[in-house]
């Protein structure tokens, strides 16, 4: 009888599997690091004050991305301004008012499906619906992004509405408050965290979107203020990246890597904001 229980073959097998797992982890991590490193190394040296503070000039042959940065900001603001009331309103309807469970299920399923559709399809629909009616412009792009982000905002708001304790609602009803007053004073303040999280997630998604904007928001690099920007075509950072990457012009490739580095940094900032907001609201609700 042997009491060194595990056979050599089995030991080898265990070691092999452990090794494979480590390898997978290393590859995953390595790919991410390589990608970030590559973009930063190629991009950061090209991020100059001149690049981010001027606009493209075909006369001087210089590339500036200030219009693209502003367009990105405009489109994020416009989209959020429209998608927030819609998404939060829908969430309130579904959790507080809707009595028909089947209808709720259908709407939730539709939202779920909507969030899984490839973004180029939103672009196509946005082109037919919005760009064909009032031309390629930031507003057409923003409206397209509204459709795209509506499910995210609605679901996050809905999830946080569900966390508002039923006892708060009962307490308010018990004092003779009407439905809308209960929603406005007790339920809505309780879901601010979900709304903020939904906003940040959407902002991240808008920042990274290009396919849905190519056909709808246009490709111009002109400098505009917010309101004239909404009415005129304009490229966002991701669209500009795509455009410059295809251009054989000197400096274009460098510009697209610079944009890539900026986008990466912005994504990092947005993710950090989401994490910080989450932590802040957790602390506040634990009070």
């Amino acid at each position: 009888m042997q009491n060194s229980s595990i056979s050599t073959g089995r030991k080898l097998y265990i070691r092999l599997m452990k090794g494979l797992c480590c390898l997978s982890a290393a590859i995953t991590c390595g790919v991410a690091l390589f990608l970030i490193g590559y973009v930063l190394v190629k991009g950061v040296p090209n991020v100059t004050w001149e690049l981010v503070s001027t606009k493209l000039s075909y006369l001087d042959g210089t590339i500036g991305i200030l219009p693209d940065i502003l367009n990105t900001v405009y489109i994020i603001i416009a989209t959020l301004l429209i998608v927030l009331p819609l998404g939060v309103g829908a969430a309130i309807y579904l959790t507080e008012y809707a009595r028909n469970k089947r209808l709720v299920a259908v709407i939730e399923y539709a939202a779920e499906t909507l969030s899984g559709i490839p973004s180029i399809i939103f672009g196509l629909v946005g082109m037919l619906l919005f760009a064909n009616t009032f031309g390629s412009c930031l507003l057409a792009g923003a409206l397209t992004l509204v459709i795209m982000n509506l499910p995210t905002v609605m679901r996050t708001a809905q999830e946080s509405l569900k966390t508002v304790p039923q006892s708060y609602r009962e307490g308010a009803f018990g004092l003779g408050a009407g439905k809308w007053r209960v929603v406005r004073t007790v339920v809505l303040p309780g879901c601010v965290d979900g709304v903020v999280t939904g906003c940040i997630l959407s902002a991240g998604r808008i920042l990274g979107e290009s396919a849905a904007l190519l056909f709808t928001a246009g490709v111009a690099h002109t400098l505009n203020d917010f309101f004239s920007g909404l009415g005129s075509p304009g490229a966002t950072l991701t669209v500009a990246l795509y455009l410059y990457a295809r251009e054989p012009r000197p400096g274009a490739a460098e510009a697209s890597f610079a944009i890539a580095a900026i986008l990466m940094a912005l994504t990092l900032v947005i993710n950090l904001a989401a994490a910080l907001a989450g932590r802040y609201f957790k602390k506040r609700s634990a009070l």
């Binding site: 009595r99 006892s167 009962e170 307490g171 004092l175 003779g176 408050a177 009407g178 009070l287």
Partner: protein, 251 residues
């Protein structure tokens, strides 16, 4: 005795399960009435039919009649919000809103259109005094109510209910989540409040019913078995089931 709330032949179903069977009761004004009975006997359900809190539960069907004064509580077109202003409620678990102590108490009056700081200040102070918590919170009215202890939170909820000027206060096991000291504070408070209000209290605790109530109703399996003066009901129950329950043979 003048009755303030009357139920006649009241039945209630949750879906297809009948939770209340032909309840007939006259609840006397300016007194404390206790509802006792084992878990699931329908006492809380019945309490909630009195200010229509059961409306919030989907799938509830009610037949029969509840009257508050001369008003049919289930009449179509009745303003439920006004009804609940008249018949306030205190819940099993203290449920202050996550706002300041002041805003909690002012919530009801504001809901019913009271404006003006002086007026609200006055209502808030009076309600907190009536709920015997004024001295403990007068220096921290702007602090979040969730920072209070459980017993204080429950007295705050009573103050919040009093602030809208109800005639009747429904209390659904208001002390079951509290420690003995807080419990006795709430009991004392209830006994003081019956000067001005009619109190109906659901309780799991028979000693509590004996200590504070003037009348007791014993429920079993959705039926009102016996109703009468508390002393009489506990000393000489008329029904066998009541005697078995109060002597602890089941429960």
């Amino acid at each position: 005795m003048n009755s303030i709330i009357t139920a006649k032949d009241l039945c209630l179903w949750y879906g297809s399960a009948q939770a209340l069977k032909n309840i007939d009761i006259d609840i006397p004004e300016q007194s404390i009435t206790a509802f006792i009975g084992p878990s699931g006997c329908g006492k809380s359900t019945f309490l909630k039919t009195l200010n229509r809190m059961n409306d919030l539960v989907p799938g509830v069907k009610i037949t029969g009649r509840v009257r508050y004064g001369k008003q049919d509580v289930y009449a179509p077109g009745l303003d439920v919000n006004l009804l609940r202003k008249e018949i306030g409620m205190v819940f099993q678990k203290p449920n202050p809103f996550p706002m300041s102590i002041y805003d909690n108490v002012a919530y009801g009056p504001r809901t019913h259109g009271v404006k003006g700081k002086a007026k609200l200040d006055d209502i808030v102070e009076r309600s907190l005094r009536d709920a015997a918590i004024w001295d403990e919170v007068k220096d921290r009215l702007k602090k979040n109510a969730l920072g209070l202890s459980g017993g204080q939170q429950q007295r705050l909820c009573i103050a919040r209910a009093l602030a809208v000027g109800p005639k009747v206060l429904l209390m659904d096991e208001p002390t079951s989540a509290l420690d003995p000291i807080s419990t006795s504070k709430i009991e004392e408070l209830a006994m003081g409040l019956k000067e001005k209000y009619t109190i109906i209290i659901v309780t799991h605790n028979m000693q509590q019913a004996v200590r504070i109530s003037d009348y007791t109703a014993f429920f079993l399996l959705g039926e009102l078995i016996e109703f009468g003066g508390t002393e009489r009901l506990f000393s000489q129950p008329e029904r066998r089931e009541t005697e078995d329950y109060i002597t602890g043979r089941f429960g």
